[in-house]
């Protein structure tokens, strides 16, 4: 694994979790593809998640008990694994959002303060 790739994943990791949690909070239980499609749509195509990034993240969140995955059927009658926020997940989302807000405020203040 090259050095560059590792760095990129690291940057994504913190935000990706928040994105996934937020998506599930807004849309309710969704399968992995729907989450990726939603993120792509919201970012107007800027954020294209491949499976190698998305699924480890989903797994990690499930391992931490923030998500719960169950097998279900799509409207096109396909088997897919649906992820739903757990209570812990919802709490974590609120916390992460707050932290994110704080961080962006700080970053904005920092970046705009030219003097």
């Amino acid at each position: 694994m090259s050095h560059k790739a590792a760095a990129k994943t690291d940057v994504l990791q913190g935000t990706l979790d928040l994105m996934v949690l937020q998506t599930l909070d807004v849309l309710g239980p969704q399968h992995g593809y729907a989450i990726a499609a939603r993120l792509e749509q919201v970012s107007s195509g800027a954020l294209q998640l491949n499976m190698g990034t998305l699924y480890p993240a989903l797994m990690r969140l499930e391992q931490r008990g923030l998500l719960k995955g169950t097998w279900g059927t799509t409207d096109t009658n396909r088997k897919a694994r649906y992820y739903a926020l757990t209570t812990v997940g919802r709490r974590e989302l609120a916390k992460e959002k707050e932290a994110w807000d704080r961080m962006t405020t700080i970053m904005q203040a920092l970046l705009q303060n030219k003097a």
């Binding site: 190698g52 699924y55 480890p56 391992q63 897919a80 694994r81």
Partner: protein, 910 residues
Amino acid sequence: MRTIREWIDRLLGTLGFRRRDFDLESELRAHLELAAEDARRRGDSDAVRRARLHVGGLTQAMDAARDQRGLPWLDDLARDVRHGLRGLRRSPVFASVAILTLSLGIGANTAIFSIVNGVLLRPLAYPSPAQLVYLDTGSRGDGLSSFPASVAEYLEFQQFNRSFAEVGAFRTGETNLAAAGRAVRVRSAIVDAHLLRTLGVQPALGRLFTNDETGVLTPPPLALLSYEVWRSTFGEQPIVGRSIDVGGRRVQVVGIMPPGMDLMDTHTEIWLPLGFTAEEPRARNNHTLSLIGRLREGITIDAARSELKALTETWAARISITPGPDHAGHVFLPASTGRFAHSLRMTPLADQILGRASQSIWVLQAAVGLLLLIACANLANLLLARAETRQHEFAVLTALGAGRGRLVRKVMTESVIIAAGGGALGVVFARLAVAALVRSFPSSLPRISEVAVDPGVMTTSILVAVVCGLLFGLAPVVRTRTNATTETLASSRRGSAGTTRYRLRRALVTLETALAVIVIIGAGLLLRTVHNLKTVDAGFDRSRLMTFSITLPVSEKNLRTARIGVPDKERTITYQRLIDQLRGLPGVVAATAMTGLPLESPLTSYQSEISNNTSEEPIPAFNFYQRVMSGYFDTMGIPIVQGRGFEPADEASDGWVTVVNEALANKYWKGLNPIGQRLRPGGLKDRWFTVIGVAKDVKQSGVDQRSGTEAYVLANQIATDTPTTWVALSPTTLNVVMRTTLPLATLAPAITRAVRSIDTSVPVARLREMDEVFTESIQRPRLLAHLLSAFSALALALAAIGVYGVLAYMVAERRREIGVRMALGAGRARVLREVVAEGFRLTAAGIVAGSASALFLNQLLASLLFGVRPSDAATFATAIPGIALVALIACLLPAWRASRLDPNAVLRAE
């Protein structure tokens, strides 16, 4: 941050990865299909390929997810172990030599550590054993290191002291037990209720003795049985409350002791109540009690000692006695009173039980420690050699991108596998060794029945093995790291000799040899010790001599008499009848009996009056008072050096006679003619013994002990119906000795029949050859010598393997050089000589270093040796050439191989 939950989930992921792999794959496939569906919906003609491009490959995603799901390092570890095992299977010789080497070291170490743990480290089987203190008395000038307390001293100490929560008294002995129509000899402990409370013992069944049942004039006929006797002799029947036959009396069993309960490592089988005669509390010169005390909570033994010191100052005043010569040795008096000084001494109970055995055990532990070091050095050598042959493999791996850490792990895993294998096999060896040891030396060490390989010992040894493996596994890798990869690759397979590495391996071999030399010389000294003990003149002829012990019952009537002991001339007459019967047996040349069996005699010391005493001893008391039956000196083959032995006429004669040994004559009548001198032991008021002869010294208490002063008297002559002192008592137990022409097995039935014909309730105890008594008496030095010899052989073999290994490697490394030199005309003999010389340099350094260390270290053995000094030149002179010879043999094979090299083949291979 990773939560615990994530870790657990990951761990489960690692353990059950197959099922989850399938799940994951379906999930990813669904993702792909959904993407393709979307693409199709958008009208893409190449939907599937486009989807794959868009969301990434399935395999990569699986890998990424797997890393997240499981614990990658654990997966790696499992892979390493599999690879390691495969690698070891590919080099079976290396693997088996390494594992065997380590397992021998660990096996010996575990076995001996089990003994250390069972005998020395594990506390005694009583509650709070550290509080228990053994008490005996010592006097200035009585020549005895330890003496029991008198009843008076015991009762006074119980009353005066404040340091002990409880002090109890006991005597040990033997008695006959009749069960199921069969009589057996059992070891007895005669104890008071205080002693049982001191020990803190709780009965498994029934009850203990109470305060009013012991320490009284006539203790009630009660007994406690050991759990073991209850099981073996009475088959665990409900026996509490019932009566059994003990020493010819009906005795009620009040309780059963818990399993493993013992007293002073005597393997006590029956516990009887202790009684005091009416005189005993006043008869201060009658020292018969062993004492054990339990310190009060929070009181140290040192505090108890200082209290005792203060007590000793005022002891005489407290009991209203003005100390004088009569009281010397019988009243506690401070050191300031000079030759009258007499004191109670305190020893932690565990130390008292272990005695000198602990030293032997630590010597063994040290020896196996050295052995383990040798095994580890050998293992390190093997691993180094293996690392060298794998240089190329590692260089290739590194070139292919394997991380340093990965290489370290690979080698370390292999070392740990070897260590674990060695540890496991070592534990198997240890179990076998401990079982064999306990079987073949049942009584050579105190508490040996408590020895077993326990889980703690096992864990310790496996840990030692793994640490060894890690340590020495790492060494080669550290060396690998310092080598430039490209250099190794460029130099191909026959790299120039790694001189640093070779130097390290040489150093290891030299160290091994040195350690082996230390162990071997130690073993040599102990073998000489055993040889000396075997050949020492014990003072009698032990060839074709047989012995057994017999205890005649004490009659009920006599026990009730308040007088000392048993007025029982009858018993001596019975003994005489038995001896006459034995003399009539075919195959028996001569027979006699005596109180103390040579090599096993306890001290029987009485304060004595001695006519014309030339010694400086303030309170004369000779060491052995031997009561013997007729024909004693002839049967035993003890030469009379002056005067005469006992004759039949003496038995009926009124004037008591004695034969003394040379030691006694030289001590008390130096320069005088001992014949006709007189002595009066143990408070005999009106009778003197007149010396009629002097016998050669006999090693009564063991071949390694000096012969004590000894006086023999005729049991037949002094037996009366009303003895007034212990001295004139007819013995309850005698050791019968016979000189025979037939082997033991042939004679045994006739002997048993002869005893039965005298008294059916009397068992024949310990019927054996005198040679066996002899062997048993030197059991501990023999055990030590045998074990150390075995360890030496092991050490020598390991060192030889080391020498062989390093030379074989050197020859392989220098093939090319040797080939070239042979092509240039060097002869085979010369090559052979050079390789052997190289091997010799290694071992010579080791031998010199080892001998020097042995000279210093073996001083620690000094007190275990007999007739040989730790710096014994003969031992060194025998051991060193032996070691050198083995080293030479180890050198020869690689040297011969080198000399057989075909220079053509070697050079063509270039």
